[in-house]
């Protein structure tokens, strides 16, 4: 019982929610860059939240079903077909042995999630199946998917199909610009070396507009915009969390993502909320953003409300 990879696309990786509790031996977390789209994929298939799915960057993945199953694609906007017939994103679909699933290239957003009913059965390493290529850990031998890879899963012949109503689909930088003309606003908790940045620098950082550059990967998003100068570049290496905004000597911020190194020695002005690193990971080179400071109470309120909304969103029940 499996799916076979016919075409892997540019970068397709097995992911679960991530690898936790292993920083003490230097392993990073990995996991889906857009955890929200990942969680939707599993919910649409009645899976547990941590079930293994494929993160597809920029599209291009083609799979052959070698069993009967249900699957769905969430995240970046792209053309999805089964045996050449167009199918909806954010919706579970039935496939039978021999069906070909084809993802086109993403037109907006960058990361798609291909979930399968029951999740792909990939044995975990260090407690997780999340693939981190730099560490050669997780997934299939720590590598990205390649042609002819076999992705084991369980045969499932009946399942209640569900879809997320289109009015709830995320827009990935197409929301329309905010009052300052930025495509997206990232909420950030000031922290770490925040006290070392002078007030003028901080004002420039929070009022400036930054563009996503193409020098971005699963370790971090490099931005381009008003330079942020930090008085001291000399510091002892320290632990880095998801979303930490690192400022190297050239003053161009880097938002650190799931595959970041666990320690580093650059000054940090704070950390972007995980919910917003997920949105950031869907932006494309040239998309613009700005940062907005929030405090811990606001951050927790934002997270609680978002969780309530996720749980309360009613799905469409589909007939076969």
């Amino acid at each position: 019982m499996s799916f076979k990879v016919l075409q892997p696309g540019l970068l397709s990786l097995i992911q679960d929610l991530g690898r936790f509790g292993q920083h003490d031996i230097g392993l990073t977390t990995g996991g889906p860059l857009d955890s929200e789209a990942f969680l939707w994929a599993n919910r649409l298939l009645h899976n547990t939240p941590n079930a293994c799915a494929i993160e597809v960057s920029f599209g291009g993945l083609q799979l052959l079903a070698q069993t009967d199953s249900y699957f769905c694609v969430t995240g970046a906007h792209l053309n999805l077909t089964i045996n050449g017939v167009n199918k909806a994103l954010w919706s579970s679909h039935k496939v039978v042995n021999g069906d070909e699933i084809k993802l086109g290239y993403s037109s907006h957003g960058c990361r798609s999630y291909v979930g399968v009913a029951g999740g792909f059965n990939i044995s975990p390493s260090f407690g997780s199946s999340a693939t981190v290529m730099r560490e050669k850990v997780g997934g299939l031998n720590g590598a990205k998917l390649a042609t002819n890879d076999s992705l084991p899963c369980t045969e499932i012949t009946t399942l209640l199909r569900q879809a997320l109503p289109e009015a709830h689909w995320p827009l990935y930088g197409q929301e329309g610009t905010d009052k300052n003309g930025a495509d997206t606003v990232l909420r950030l908790l000031p922290g770490y070396q925040h006290h070392q940045f002078d007030p003028v620098t901080k004002a420039r950082f929070f009022h400036g507009q930054y563009a996503v550059t193409d020098r971005s990967d699963r370790m971090g998003m490099r931005l381009e915009g008003p330079a942020v100068s930090c008085p001291s570049q000399q510091m002892l290496s320290e632990g880095i969390c998801l979303g930490a905004v690192q400022v190297p000597a050239d003053g161009q911020p880097i938002v650190l993502l799931n595959d970041r190194q666990t320690i580093g020695g650059y000054p940090k002005i704070g950390a972007v909320m995980a919910r917003d690193t997920a949105r950031l990971a869907q932006l494309r080179p040239g998309d613009t953003l700005r940062f907005e400071a929030v405090d811990l109470h606001q951050a927790h309120t934002i997270n609680t409300l978002a969780q309530l909304k996720f749980d309360a969103t009613a799905l469409l029940q589909l007939k076969d």
């Binding site: 936790f20 509790g21 292993q22 920083h23 003490d24 031996i25 230097g26 392993l27 977390t29 390493s125 260090f126 730099r134 560490e135 850990v137 908790l189 000031p190 922290g191 770490y192 070396q193 925040h194 070392q196 001291s232 000399q234 510091m235 002892l236 290496s237 320290e238 632990g239 880095i240 969390c241 998801l242 979303g243 930490a244 190194q261 666990t262 320690i263 580093g264 704070g270 950390a271 909320m273 995980a274 811990l296 951050a299 927790h300 997270n303």
Partner: protein, 237 residues
């Protein structure tokens, strides 16, 4: 001694950074490192399943907690009470791990350079590097990469201007006053002085690393034959 001088900063929505001593100081101290190791144990016990991850480094401790299991105010209060609690600090705590090193100008091309810069013989450099008991200050950069300090001032050397594309697994290296054993073949800019046959990272074996933060390491010089007998491998650089 207590760790009352430690202070807590927000790192993210679900993590706090604890700085021990002056966060802007570049001073590395075994006493501070021992305080961090002692705090780690207490945090693990006190937080239990509320703790997601801990990253100990030279003078700081990143505490990542589960916001579905505890409130951020509970986490901060718990940290404060742990830091205020008296600790028995012992710089000699942690296990002493002895690691064999085949020091070699051929397989550690900067060995002669370090000797030259310090006005010492290669034998003296080896004697100095292997006489020091190092402390594991941090683990990171790559799986199994342990930062050991401090290297004798005479052997301190800046990173290479152009990092090597490939440093072999087991390479023993120096950067500034830190020394390390490369856990896997990777790019790297540290000065290479020899090879260690003990794997720093083994995914298939528990524990995965021979050392943890807070342990102590001392290197024992071995020759090429001993290195090969211990399973060491030789690669042209």
């Amino acid at each position: 001694m207590s760790t009352k001088q430690a202070h807590i900063e927000i790192a993210s929505e679900n993590s706090y950074m604890v700085y021990f001593g002056d966060p802007d100081s570049l001073h590395i101290s075994p006493v501070v490192s021992a305080a961090i190791a002692a705090s780690c144990e207490q945090i693990k016990q006190h937080f239990g399943n509320r703790l997601i991850d801990l990253v100990a480094s030279y003078a700081s401790l990143l505490v990542i907690y589960d916001t579905t299991q505890c409130d951020h105010l509970w986490a901060k209060k718990a940290l404060r009470s742990i830091l205020n609690a008296p600790k028995k600090l012992n710089q000699d705590s942690g296990q002493l791990v002895r690691m064999p090193v085949f020091y070699s100008p051929k397989y550690g091309p900067e060995l002669s350079l370090l000797a030259q810069n310090a006005g010492l013989s290669v034998a003296q450099v080896i004697a100095i590097h292997s006489a020091t008991e190092y402390r594991v200050y941090a683990i990171g950069f790559a799986p199994g990469f342990a930062y050991l300090g401090e290297v004798d001032e005479r052997l301190a050397a800046p990173r290479l201007a152009t990092p090597r594309v490939k440093v072999p697994a087991g390479a023993v290296a120096i950067a500034d006053r830190q020394t390390a054993v490369y856990p896997a073949s990777s790019p790297g800019g540290w000065n290479l002085i020899g090879l260690c046959p003990t794997p720093m990272f083994n995914a298939a074996k528990q524990p995965h690393m021979p050392v943890s933060v807070g342990d102590r390491v001392q290197f024992d010089p071995i020759d090429e034959q001993q290195y090969l007998a211990m399973g060491g491998q030789l690669h042209e650089l």
